[in-house]
């Protein structure tokens, strides 16, 4: 919605401006049960990888004409192979944690974005594991920060912890692998939290649980992991590195990677926002190439790429353009989705508007499980 021309100097604008975007660091992560590392393949061998082009990116800096230079890999490499949904509308709360969780539950969640709580509605992971009787190591979630750690499992009594996803928090893995070196040890760029989620000094990570994940799930030695991390540019690069290792070592059939570098835009530095988009573009293609080169995934994996939402329009006086996503205007609610893989039409553009909550029922249809509480609709172009 576009507010009138001079309304930024009027009394109601501050209310819109005051929308807080903070995510709160959550409580300690639950330890994973000891299970065989590699899951048996899902029935039919089909796999799904979901990547959120996360942190909020506008069309203007991505698929609009001026923005395409920022996403050369999506445009040249992935778009021709994909069915592209040009209008994905997020009708929910435009906070990263609650919005990303809503995409994962197929329901517009209304919990406090800053709370870091588990969603009340079952997640995609729970539907998948319960519906297809899959073990816990067949569904994984890689999250950008501890604030997202509870996204993999709901509080729904019919589903809940017995069916949730394994959660990897690469920043905590790195903190555990290089204790005492988080600051000043060359890892600051990787451990960087978003502007609005500074890394709190208290709340020491559960080092033992992280080390166990490193060694038993990812088969990394802490030293090697920390050494390799030194070569990386950002937290999202670390996440993708962990994702690729997980794919090699555990080959989960359902994998969700939440990228988040782009959210640096909240600092107001346009150059860093653009850097984040360009890096995310490169990482998405990197993930796709890894899928194609991994025999466990090649030829049987559907990948979805979608932002959690956009950012405010330059034209909306209640916002400050790219910096935030506080107005709920069209630019901040509208994004896109790309689907690639076997059986997906290539080079297809879907003009009709779809909903952020459509992903869960679509993946359910694709893999053959029910998603009874999801509010979205199956996308017939994909499943």
């Amino acid at each position: 919605m576009i507010l009138p021309g001079n309304s930024s100097s009027r009394p109601l604008s501050p209310l819109v401006l005051s929308r807080r975007e903070f995510l709160r660091s959550a409580a300690a992560c639950a330890a994973l049960p000891a299970l065989p590392v590699r899951a048996l393949a899902a029935p039919g061998g089909r796999k799904v990888v979901i990547v959120t082009f996360g942190g909020g990116a506008r069309d203007e800096e991505t698929f609009a004409p001026d923005g395409q230079e920022n996403i050369p890999n999506l445009i040249k490499t992935l778009l021709p192979q994909s069915t592209f949904f040009g209008q994905v509308i997020n009708h929910g709360i435009l906070g990263h944690y609650v919005a990303t969780t809503s995409i994962a539950t197929g329901v517009y969640e209304t919990f406090n974005n800053f709370s870091g709580v588990a969603p009340p509605h079952p997640t995609l992971f729970e539907y998948y594991r319960k519906g297809l009787r899959r073990p816990s190591n067949d569904a994984w979630l890689i999250s950008p920060s501890s604030g997202f750690r509870n996204m993999g499992c709901s509080t729904d009594r019919q589903f809940g912890p017995g069916y949730g996803a394994g959660v990897l928090l690469p920043k905590l893995l790195l903190s555990a692998a290089a204790p005492g070196h988080a600051s000043g040890g060359g890892f600051d760029n990787l451990l960087r939290e978003t502007y609005e989620e500074p890394h709190l000094a208290a709340g020491t990570p559960e080092t033992q649980a992280q080390l166990e994940q490193l060694e038993s799930i990812l088969h990394f030695s802490p030293n090697d992991f920390a050494h390799r991390a030194l070569t990386m540019e950002s937290a999202d690069e670390l996440s993708v590195y962990v994702a690729k290792q997980l794919m090699t070592q555990a080959a989960p059939s359902l994998l969700w990677i939440t990228l988040h570098d782009i959210d640096i835009a909240h600092s107001g530095a346009y150059s860093l926002y653009i850097d984040g988009i360009q890096r995310t573009d490169r990482l998405c293609t990197d993930i796709w190439n890894s899928i194609q080169s991994n025999p466990e995934y090649a030829g049987k994996t559907t990948m979805f790429i979608l932002p959690d939402f956009g950012r405010d329009s330059d034209a909306n006086p209640a916002g400050n353009g790219f910096q935030h996503h506080r107005t709920g205007d069209r630019a901040s609610r509208t994004s896109w989705m790309m689907a690639l893989g076997p059986g997906i039409r290539q080079n297809a553009f879907i003009e009709r508007a779809i909903d952020s909550t459509d992903l869960v029922p679509t993946v359910g249809r694709l893999l053959g499980f029910a998603t009874p509480f999801a509010q979205g609709s199956v996308l017939p172009e994909v499943a």
């Binding site: 001079n6 501050p14 005051s18 709920g328």
Partner: protein, 400 residues
Amino acid sequence: MEPRDLHESAFRTYGPLAHKLACDHLALLRELPLVLAAVLLRQVIVLDASFPRERAVTEAQFTYLASLSTGQLHQLTQGFAALSLSPELVAEDWVRAPQTFEEDLSAYLWASHQIDSFHSLATQFLDTVEKAVPPAPPAASRWAAAIIGSGLRKEGYPLFRKLKPNGVFFPNVTDADGSATILSELARRAAATPVPYGHWYVDGGDPLPVDPAAVSSFSWLQSSPVRDALLRKIQSVIDSGSSGPEMLRSIMAEWAPREDRDSHYDSLIDQFVVNVYGGGSGTQIFSTTFVQWSARELLRRAEPVSLVTRYGPRQRQRGMNEMFAQAAEEMDYAGSLVDADFGAYYTWINLNRLAGSESATFIAWSEAHQQAVAIGPGLPRGAQSPNAITIRRLLDIVAT
């Protein structure tokens, strides 16, 4: 508390101007839906720290609303009464702490899927008020200049891409003393049309001299004591581990520096700078954001007749905690150029939101790239002037 239960005593914590306005319009406030009353009080409570233009807008708005008949007022505001509120919200002290209420209301409206309805209501309300009380025209044609400082350079970067279609691009600006020339023009305008808080200069580094009697100004360098004090506060909160980001944000927004400190500025400018640091996102760590947000807020609040912004280099990005803890010695000149370019574009957008925008003129100039763009009512759009030009000549062209 419901608005109908309001009494003058409820405003005893307000400043003198705010207290008077609230008491003068107590009967009106009692008639308003709670949401609207709280939102209006959010404006009233800061009246003593507001710029003259803000005060005038607020007072005119109350005068207009008070002039409406009961039926007209009901028709204009009934939509706000239809918004569903939680008992906790209604129970909040929205009179003494309207800002806190506003933040909680905003979160509630999002969670209850009423935010779009609220936006519609707000738009209708603002349209009606603005139609009845049109914004005052500026005392002189508005004029703004964005200087992208000498160290900011990025080879191959398409500078002013957003601005060029709206004016004339000058790719060959040769002027070693252009910043001083622009500030001279600012001083000339301030002398020609003296307006309290109407002529501004914001610098993202070490400021050039201006006459403080004629021009209101502040800078990244001179305001460092405020910034450092806030950063120390942020650091202490982070180190304590006692609060999450949400509380940290609230602490920043409500933070006030010690009253006995020295300040370069008068009280209104001083409070404005505190608001830029406490309420702005990223203003505490990046000088480019500090300048852009300051310009945005000045245009929104002070509605200046003249505004000069000058961007300097910002620190290179590091871990967020590190940036909160201390300023980096290493600067990101290329990134700063991109930030400043977009900041200049946003200043032009915000300039166009003000009354009198049809006669406003704007220039943006990169010292390092020796390029400028000029936008104004007498200038063609999407044009280019390849000849070498000085800043003085460019200012003359804009003025004609």
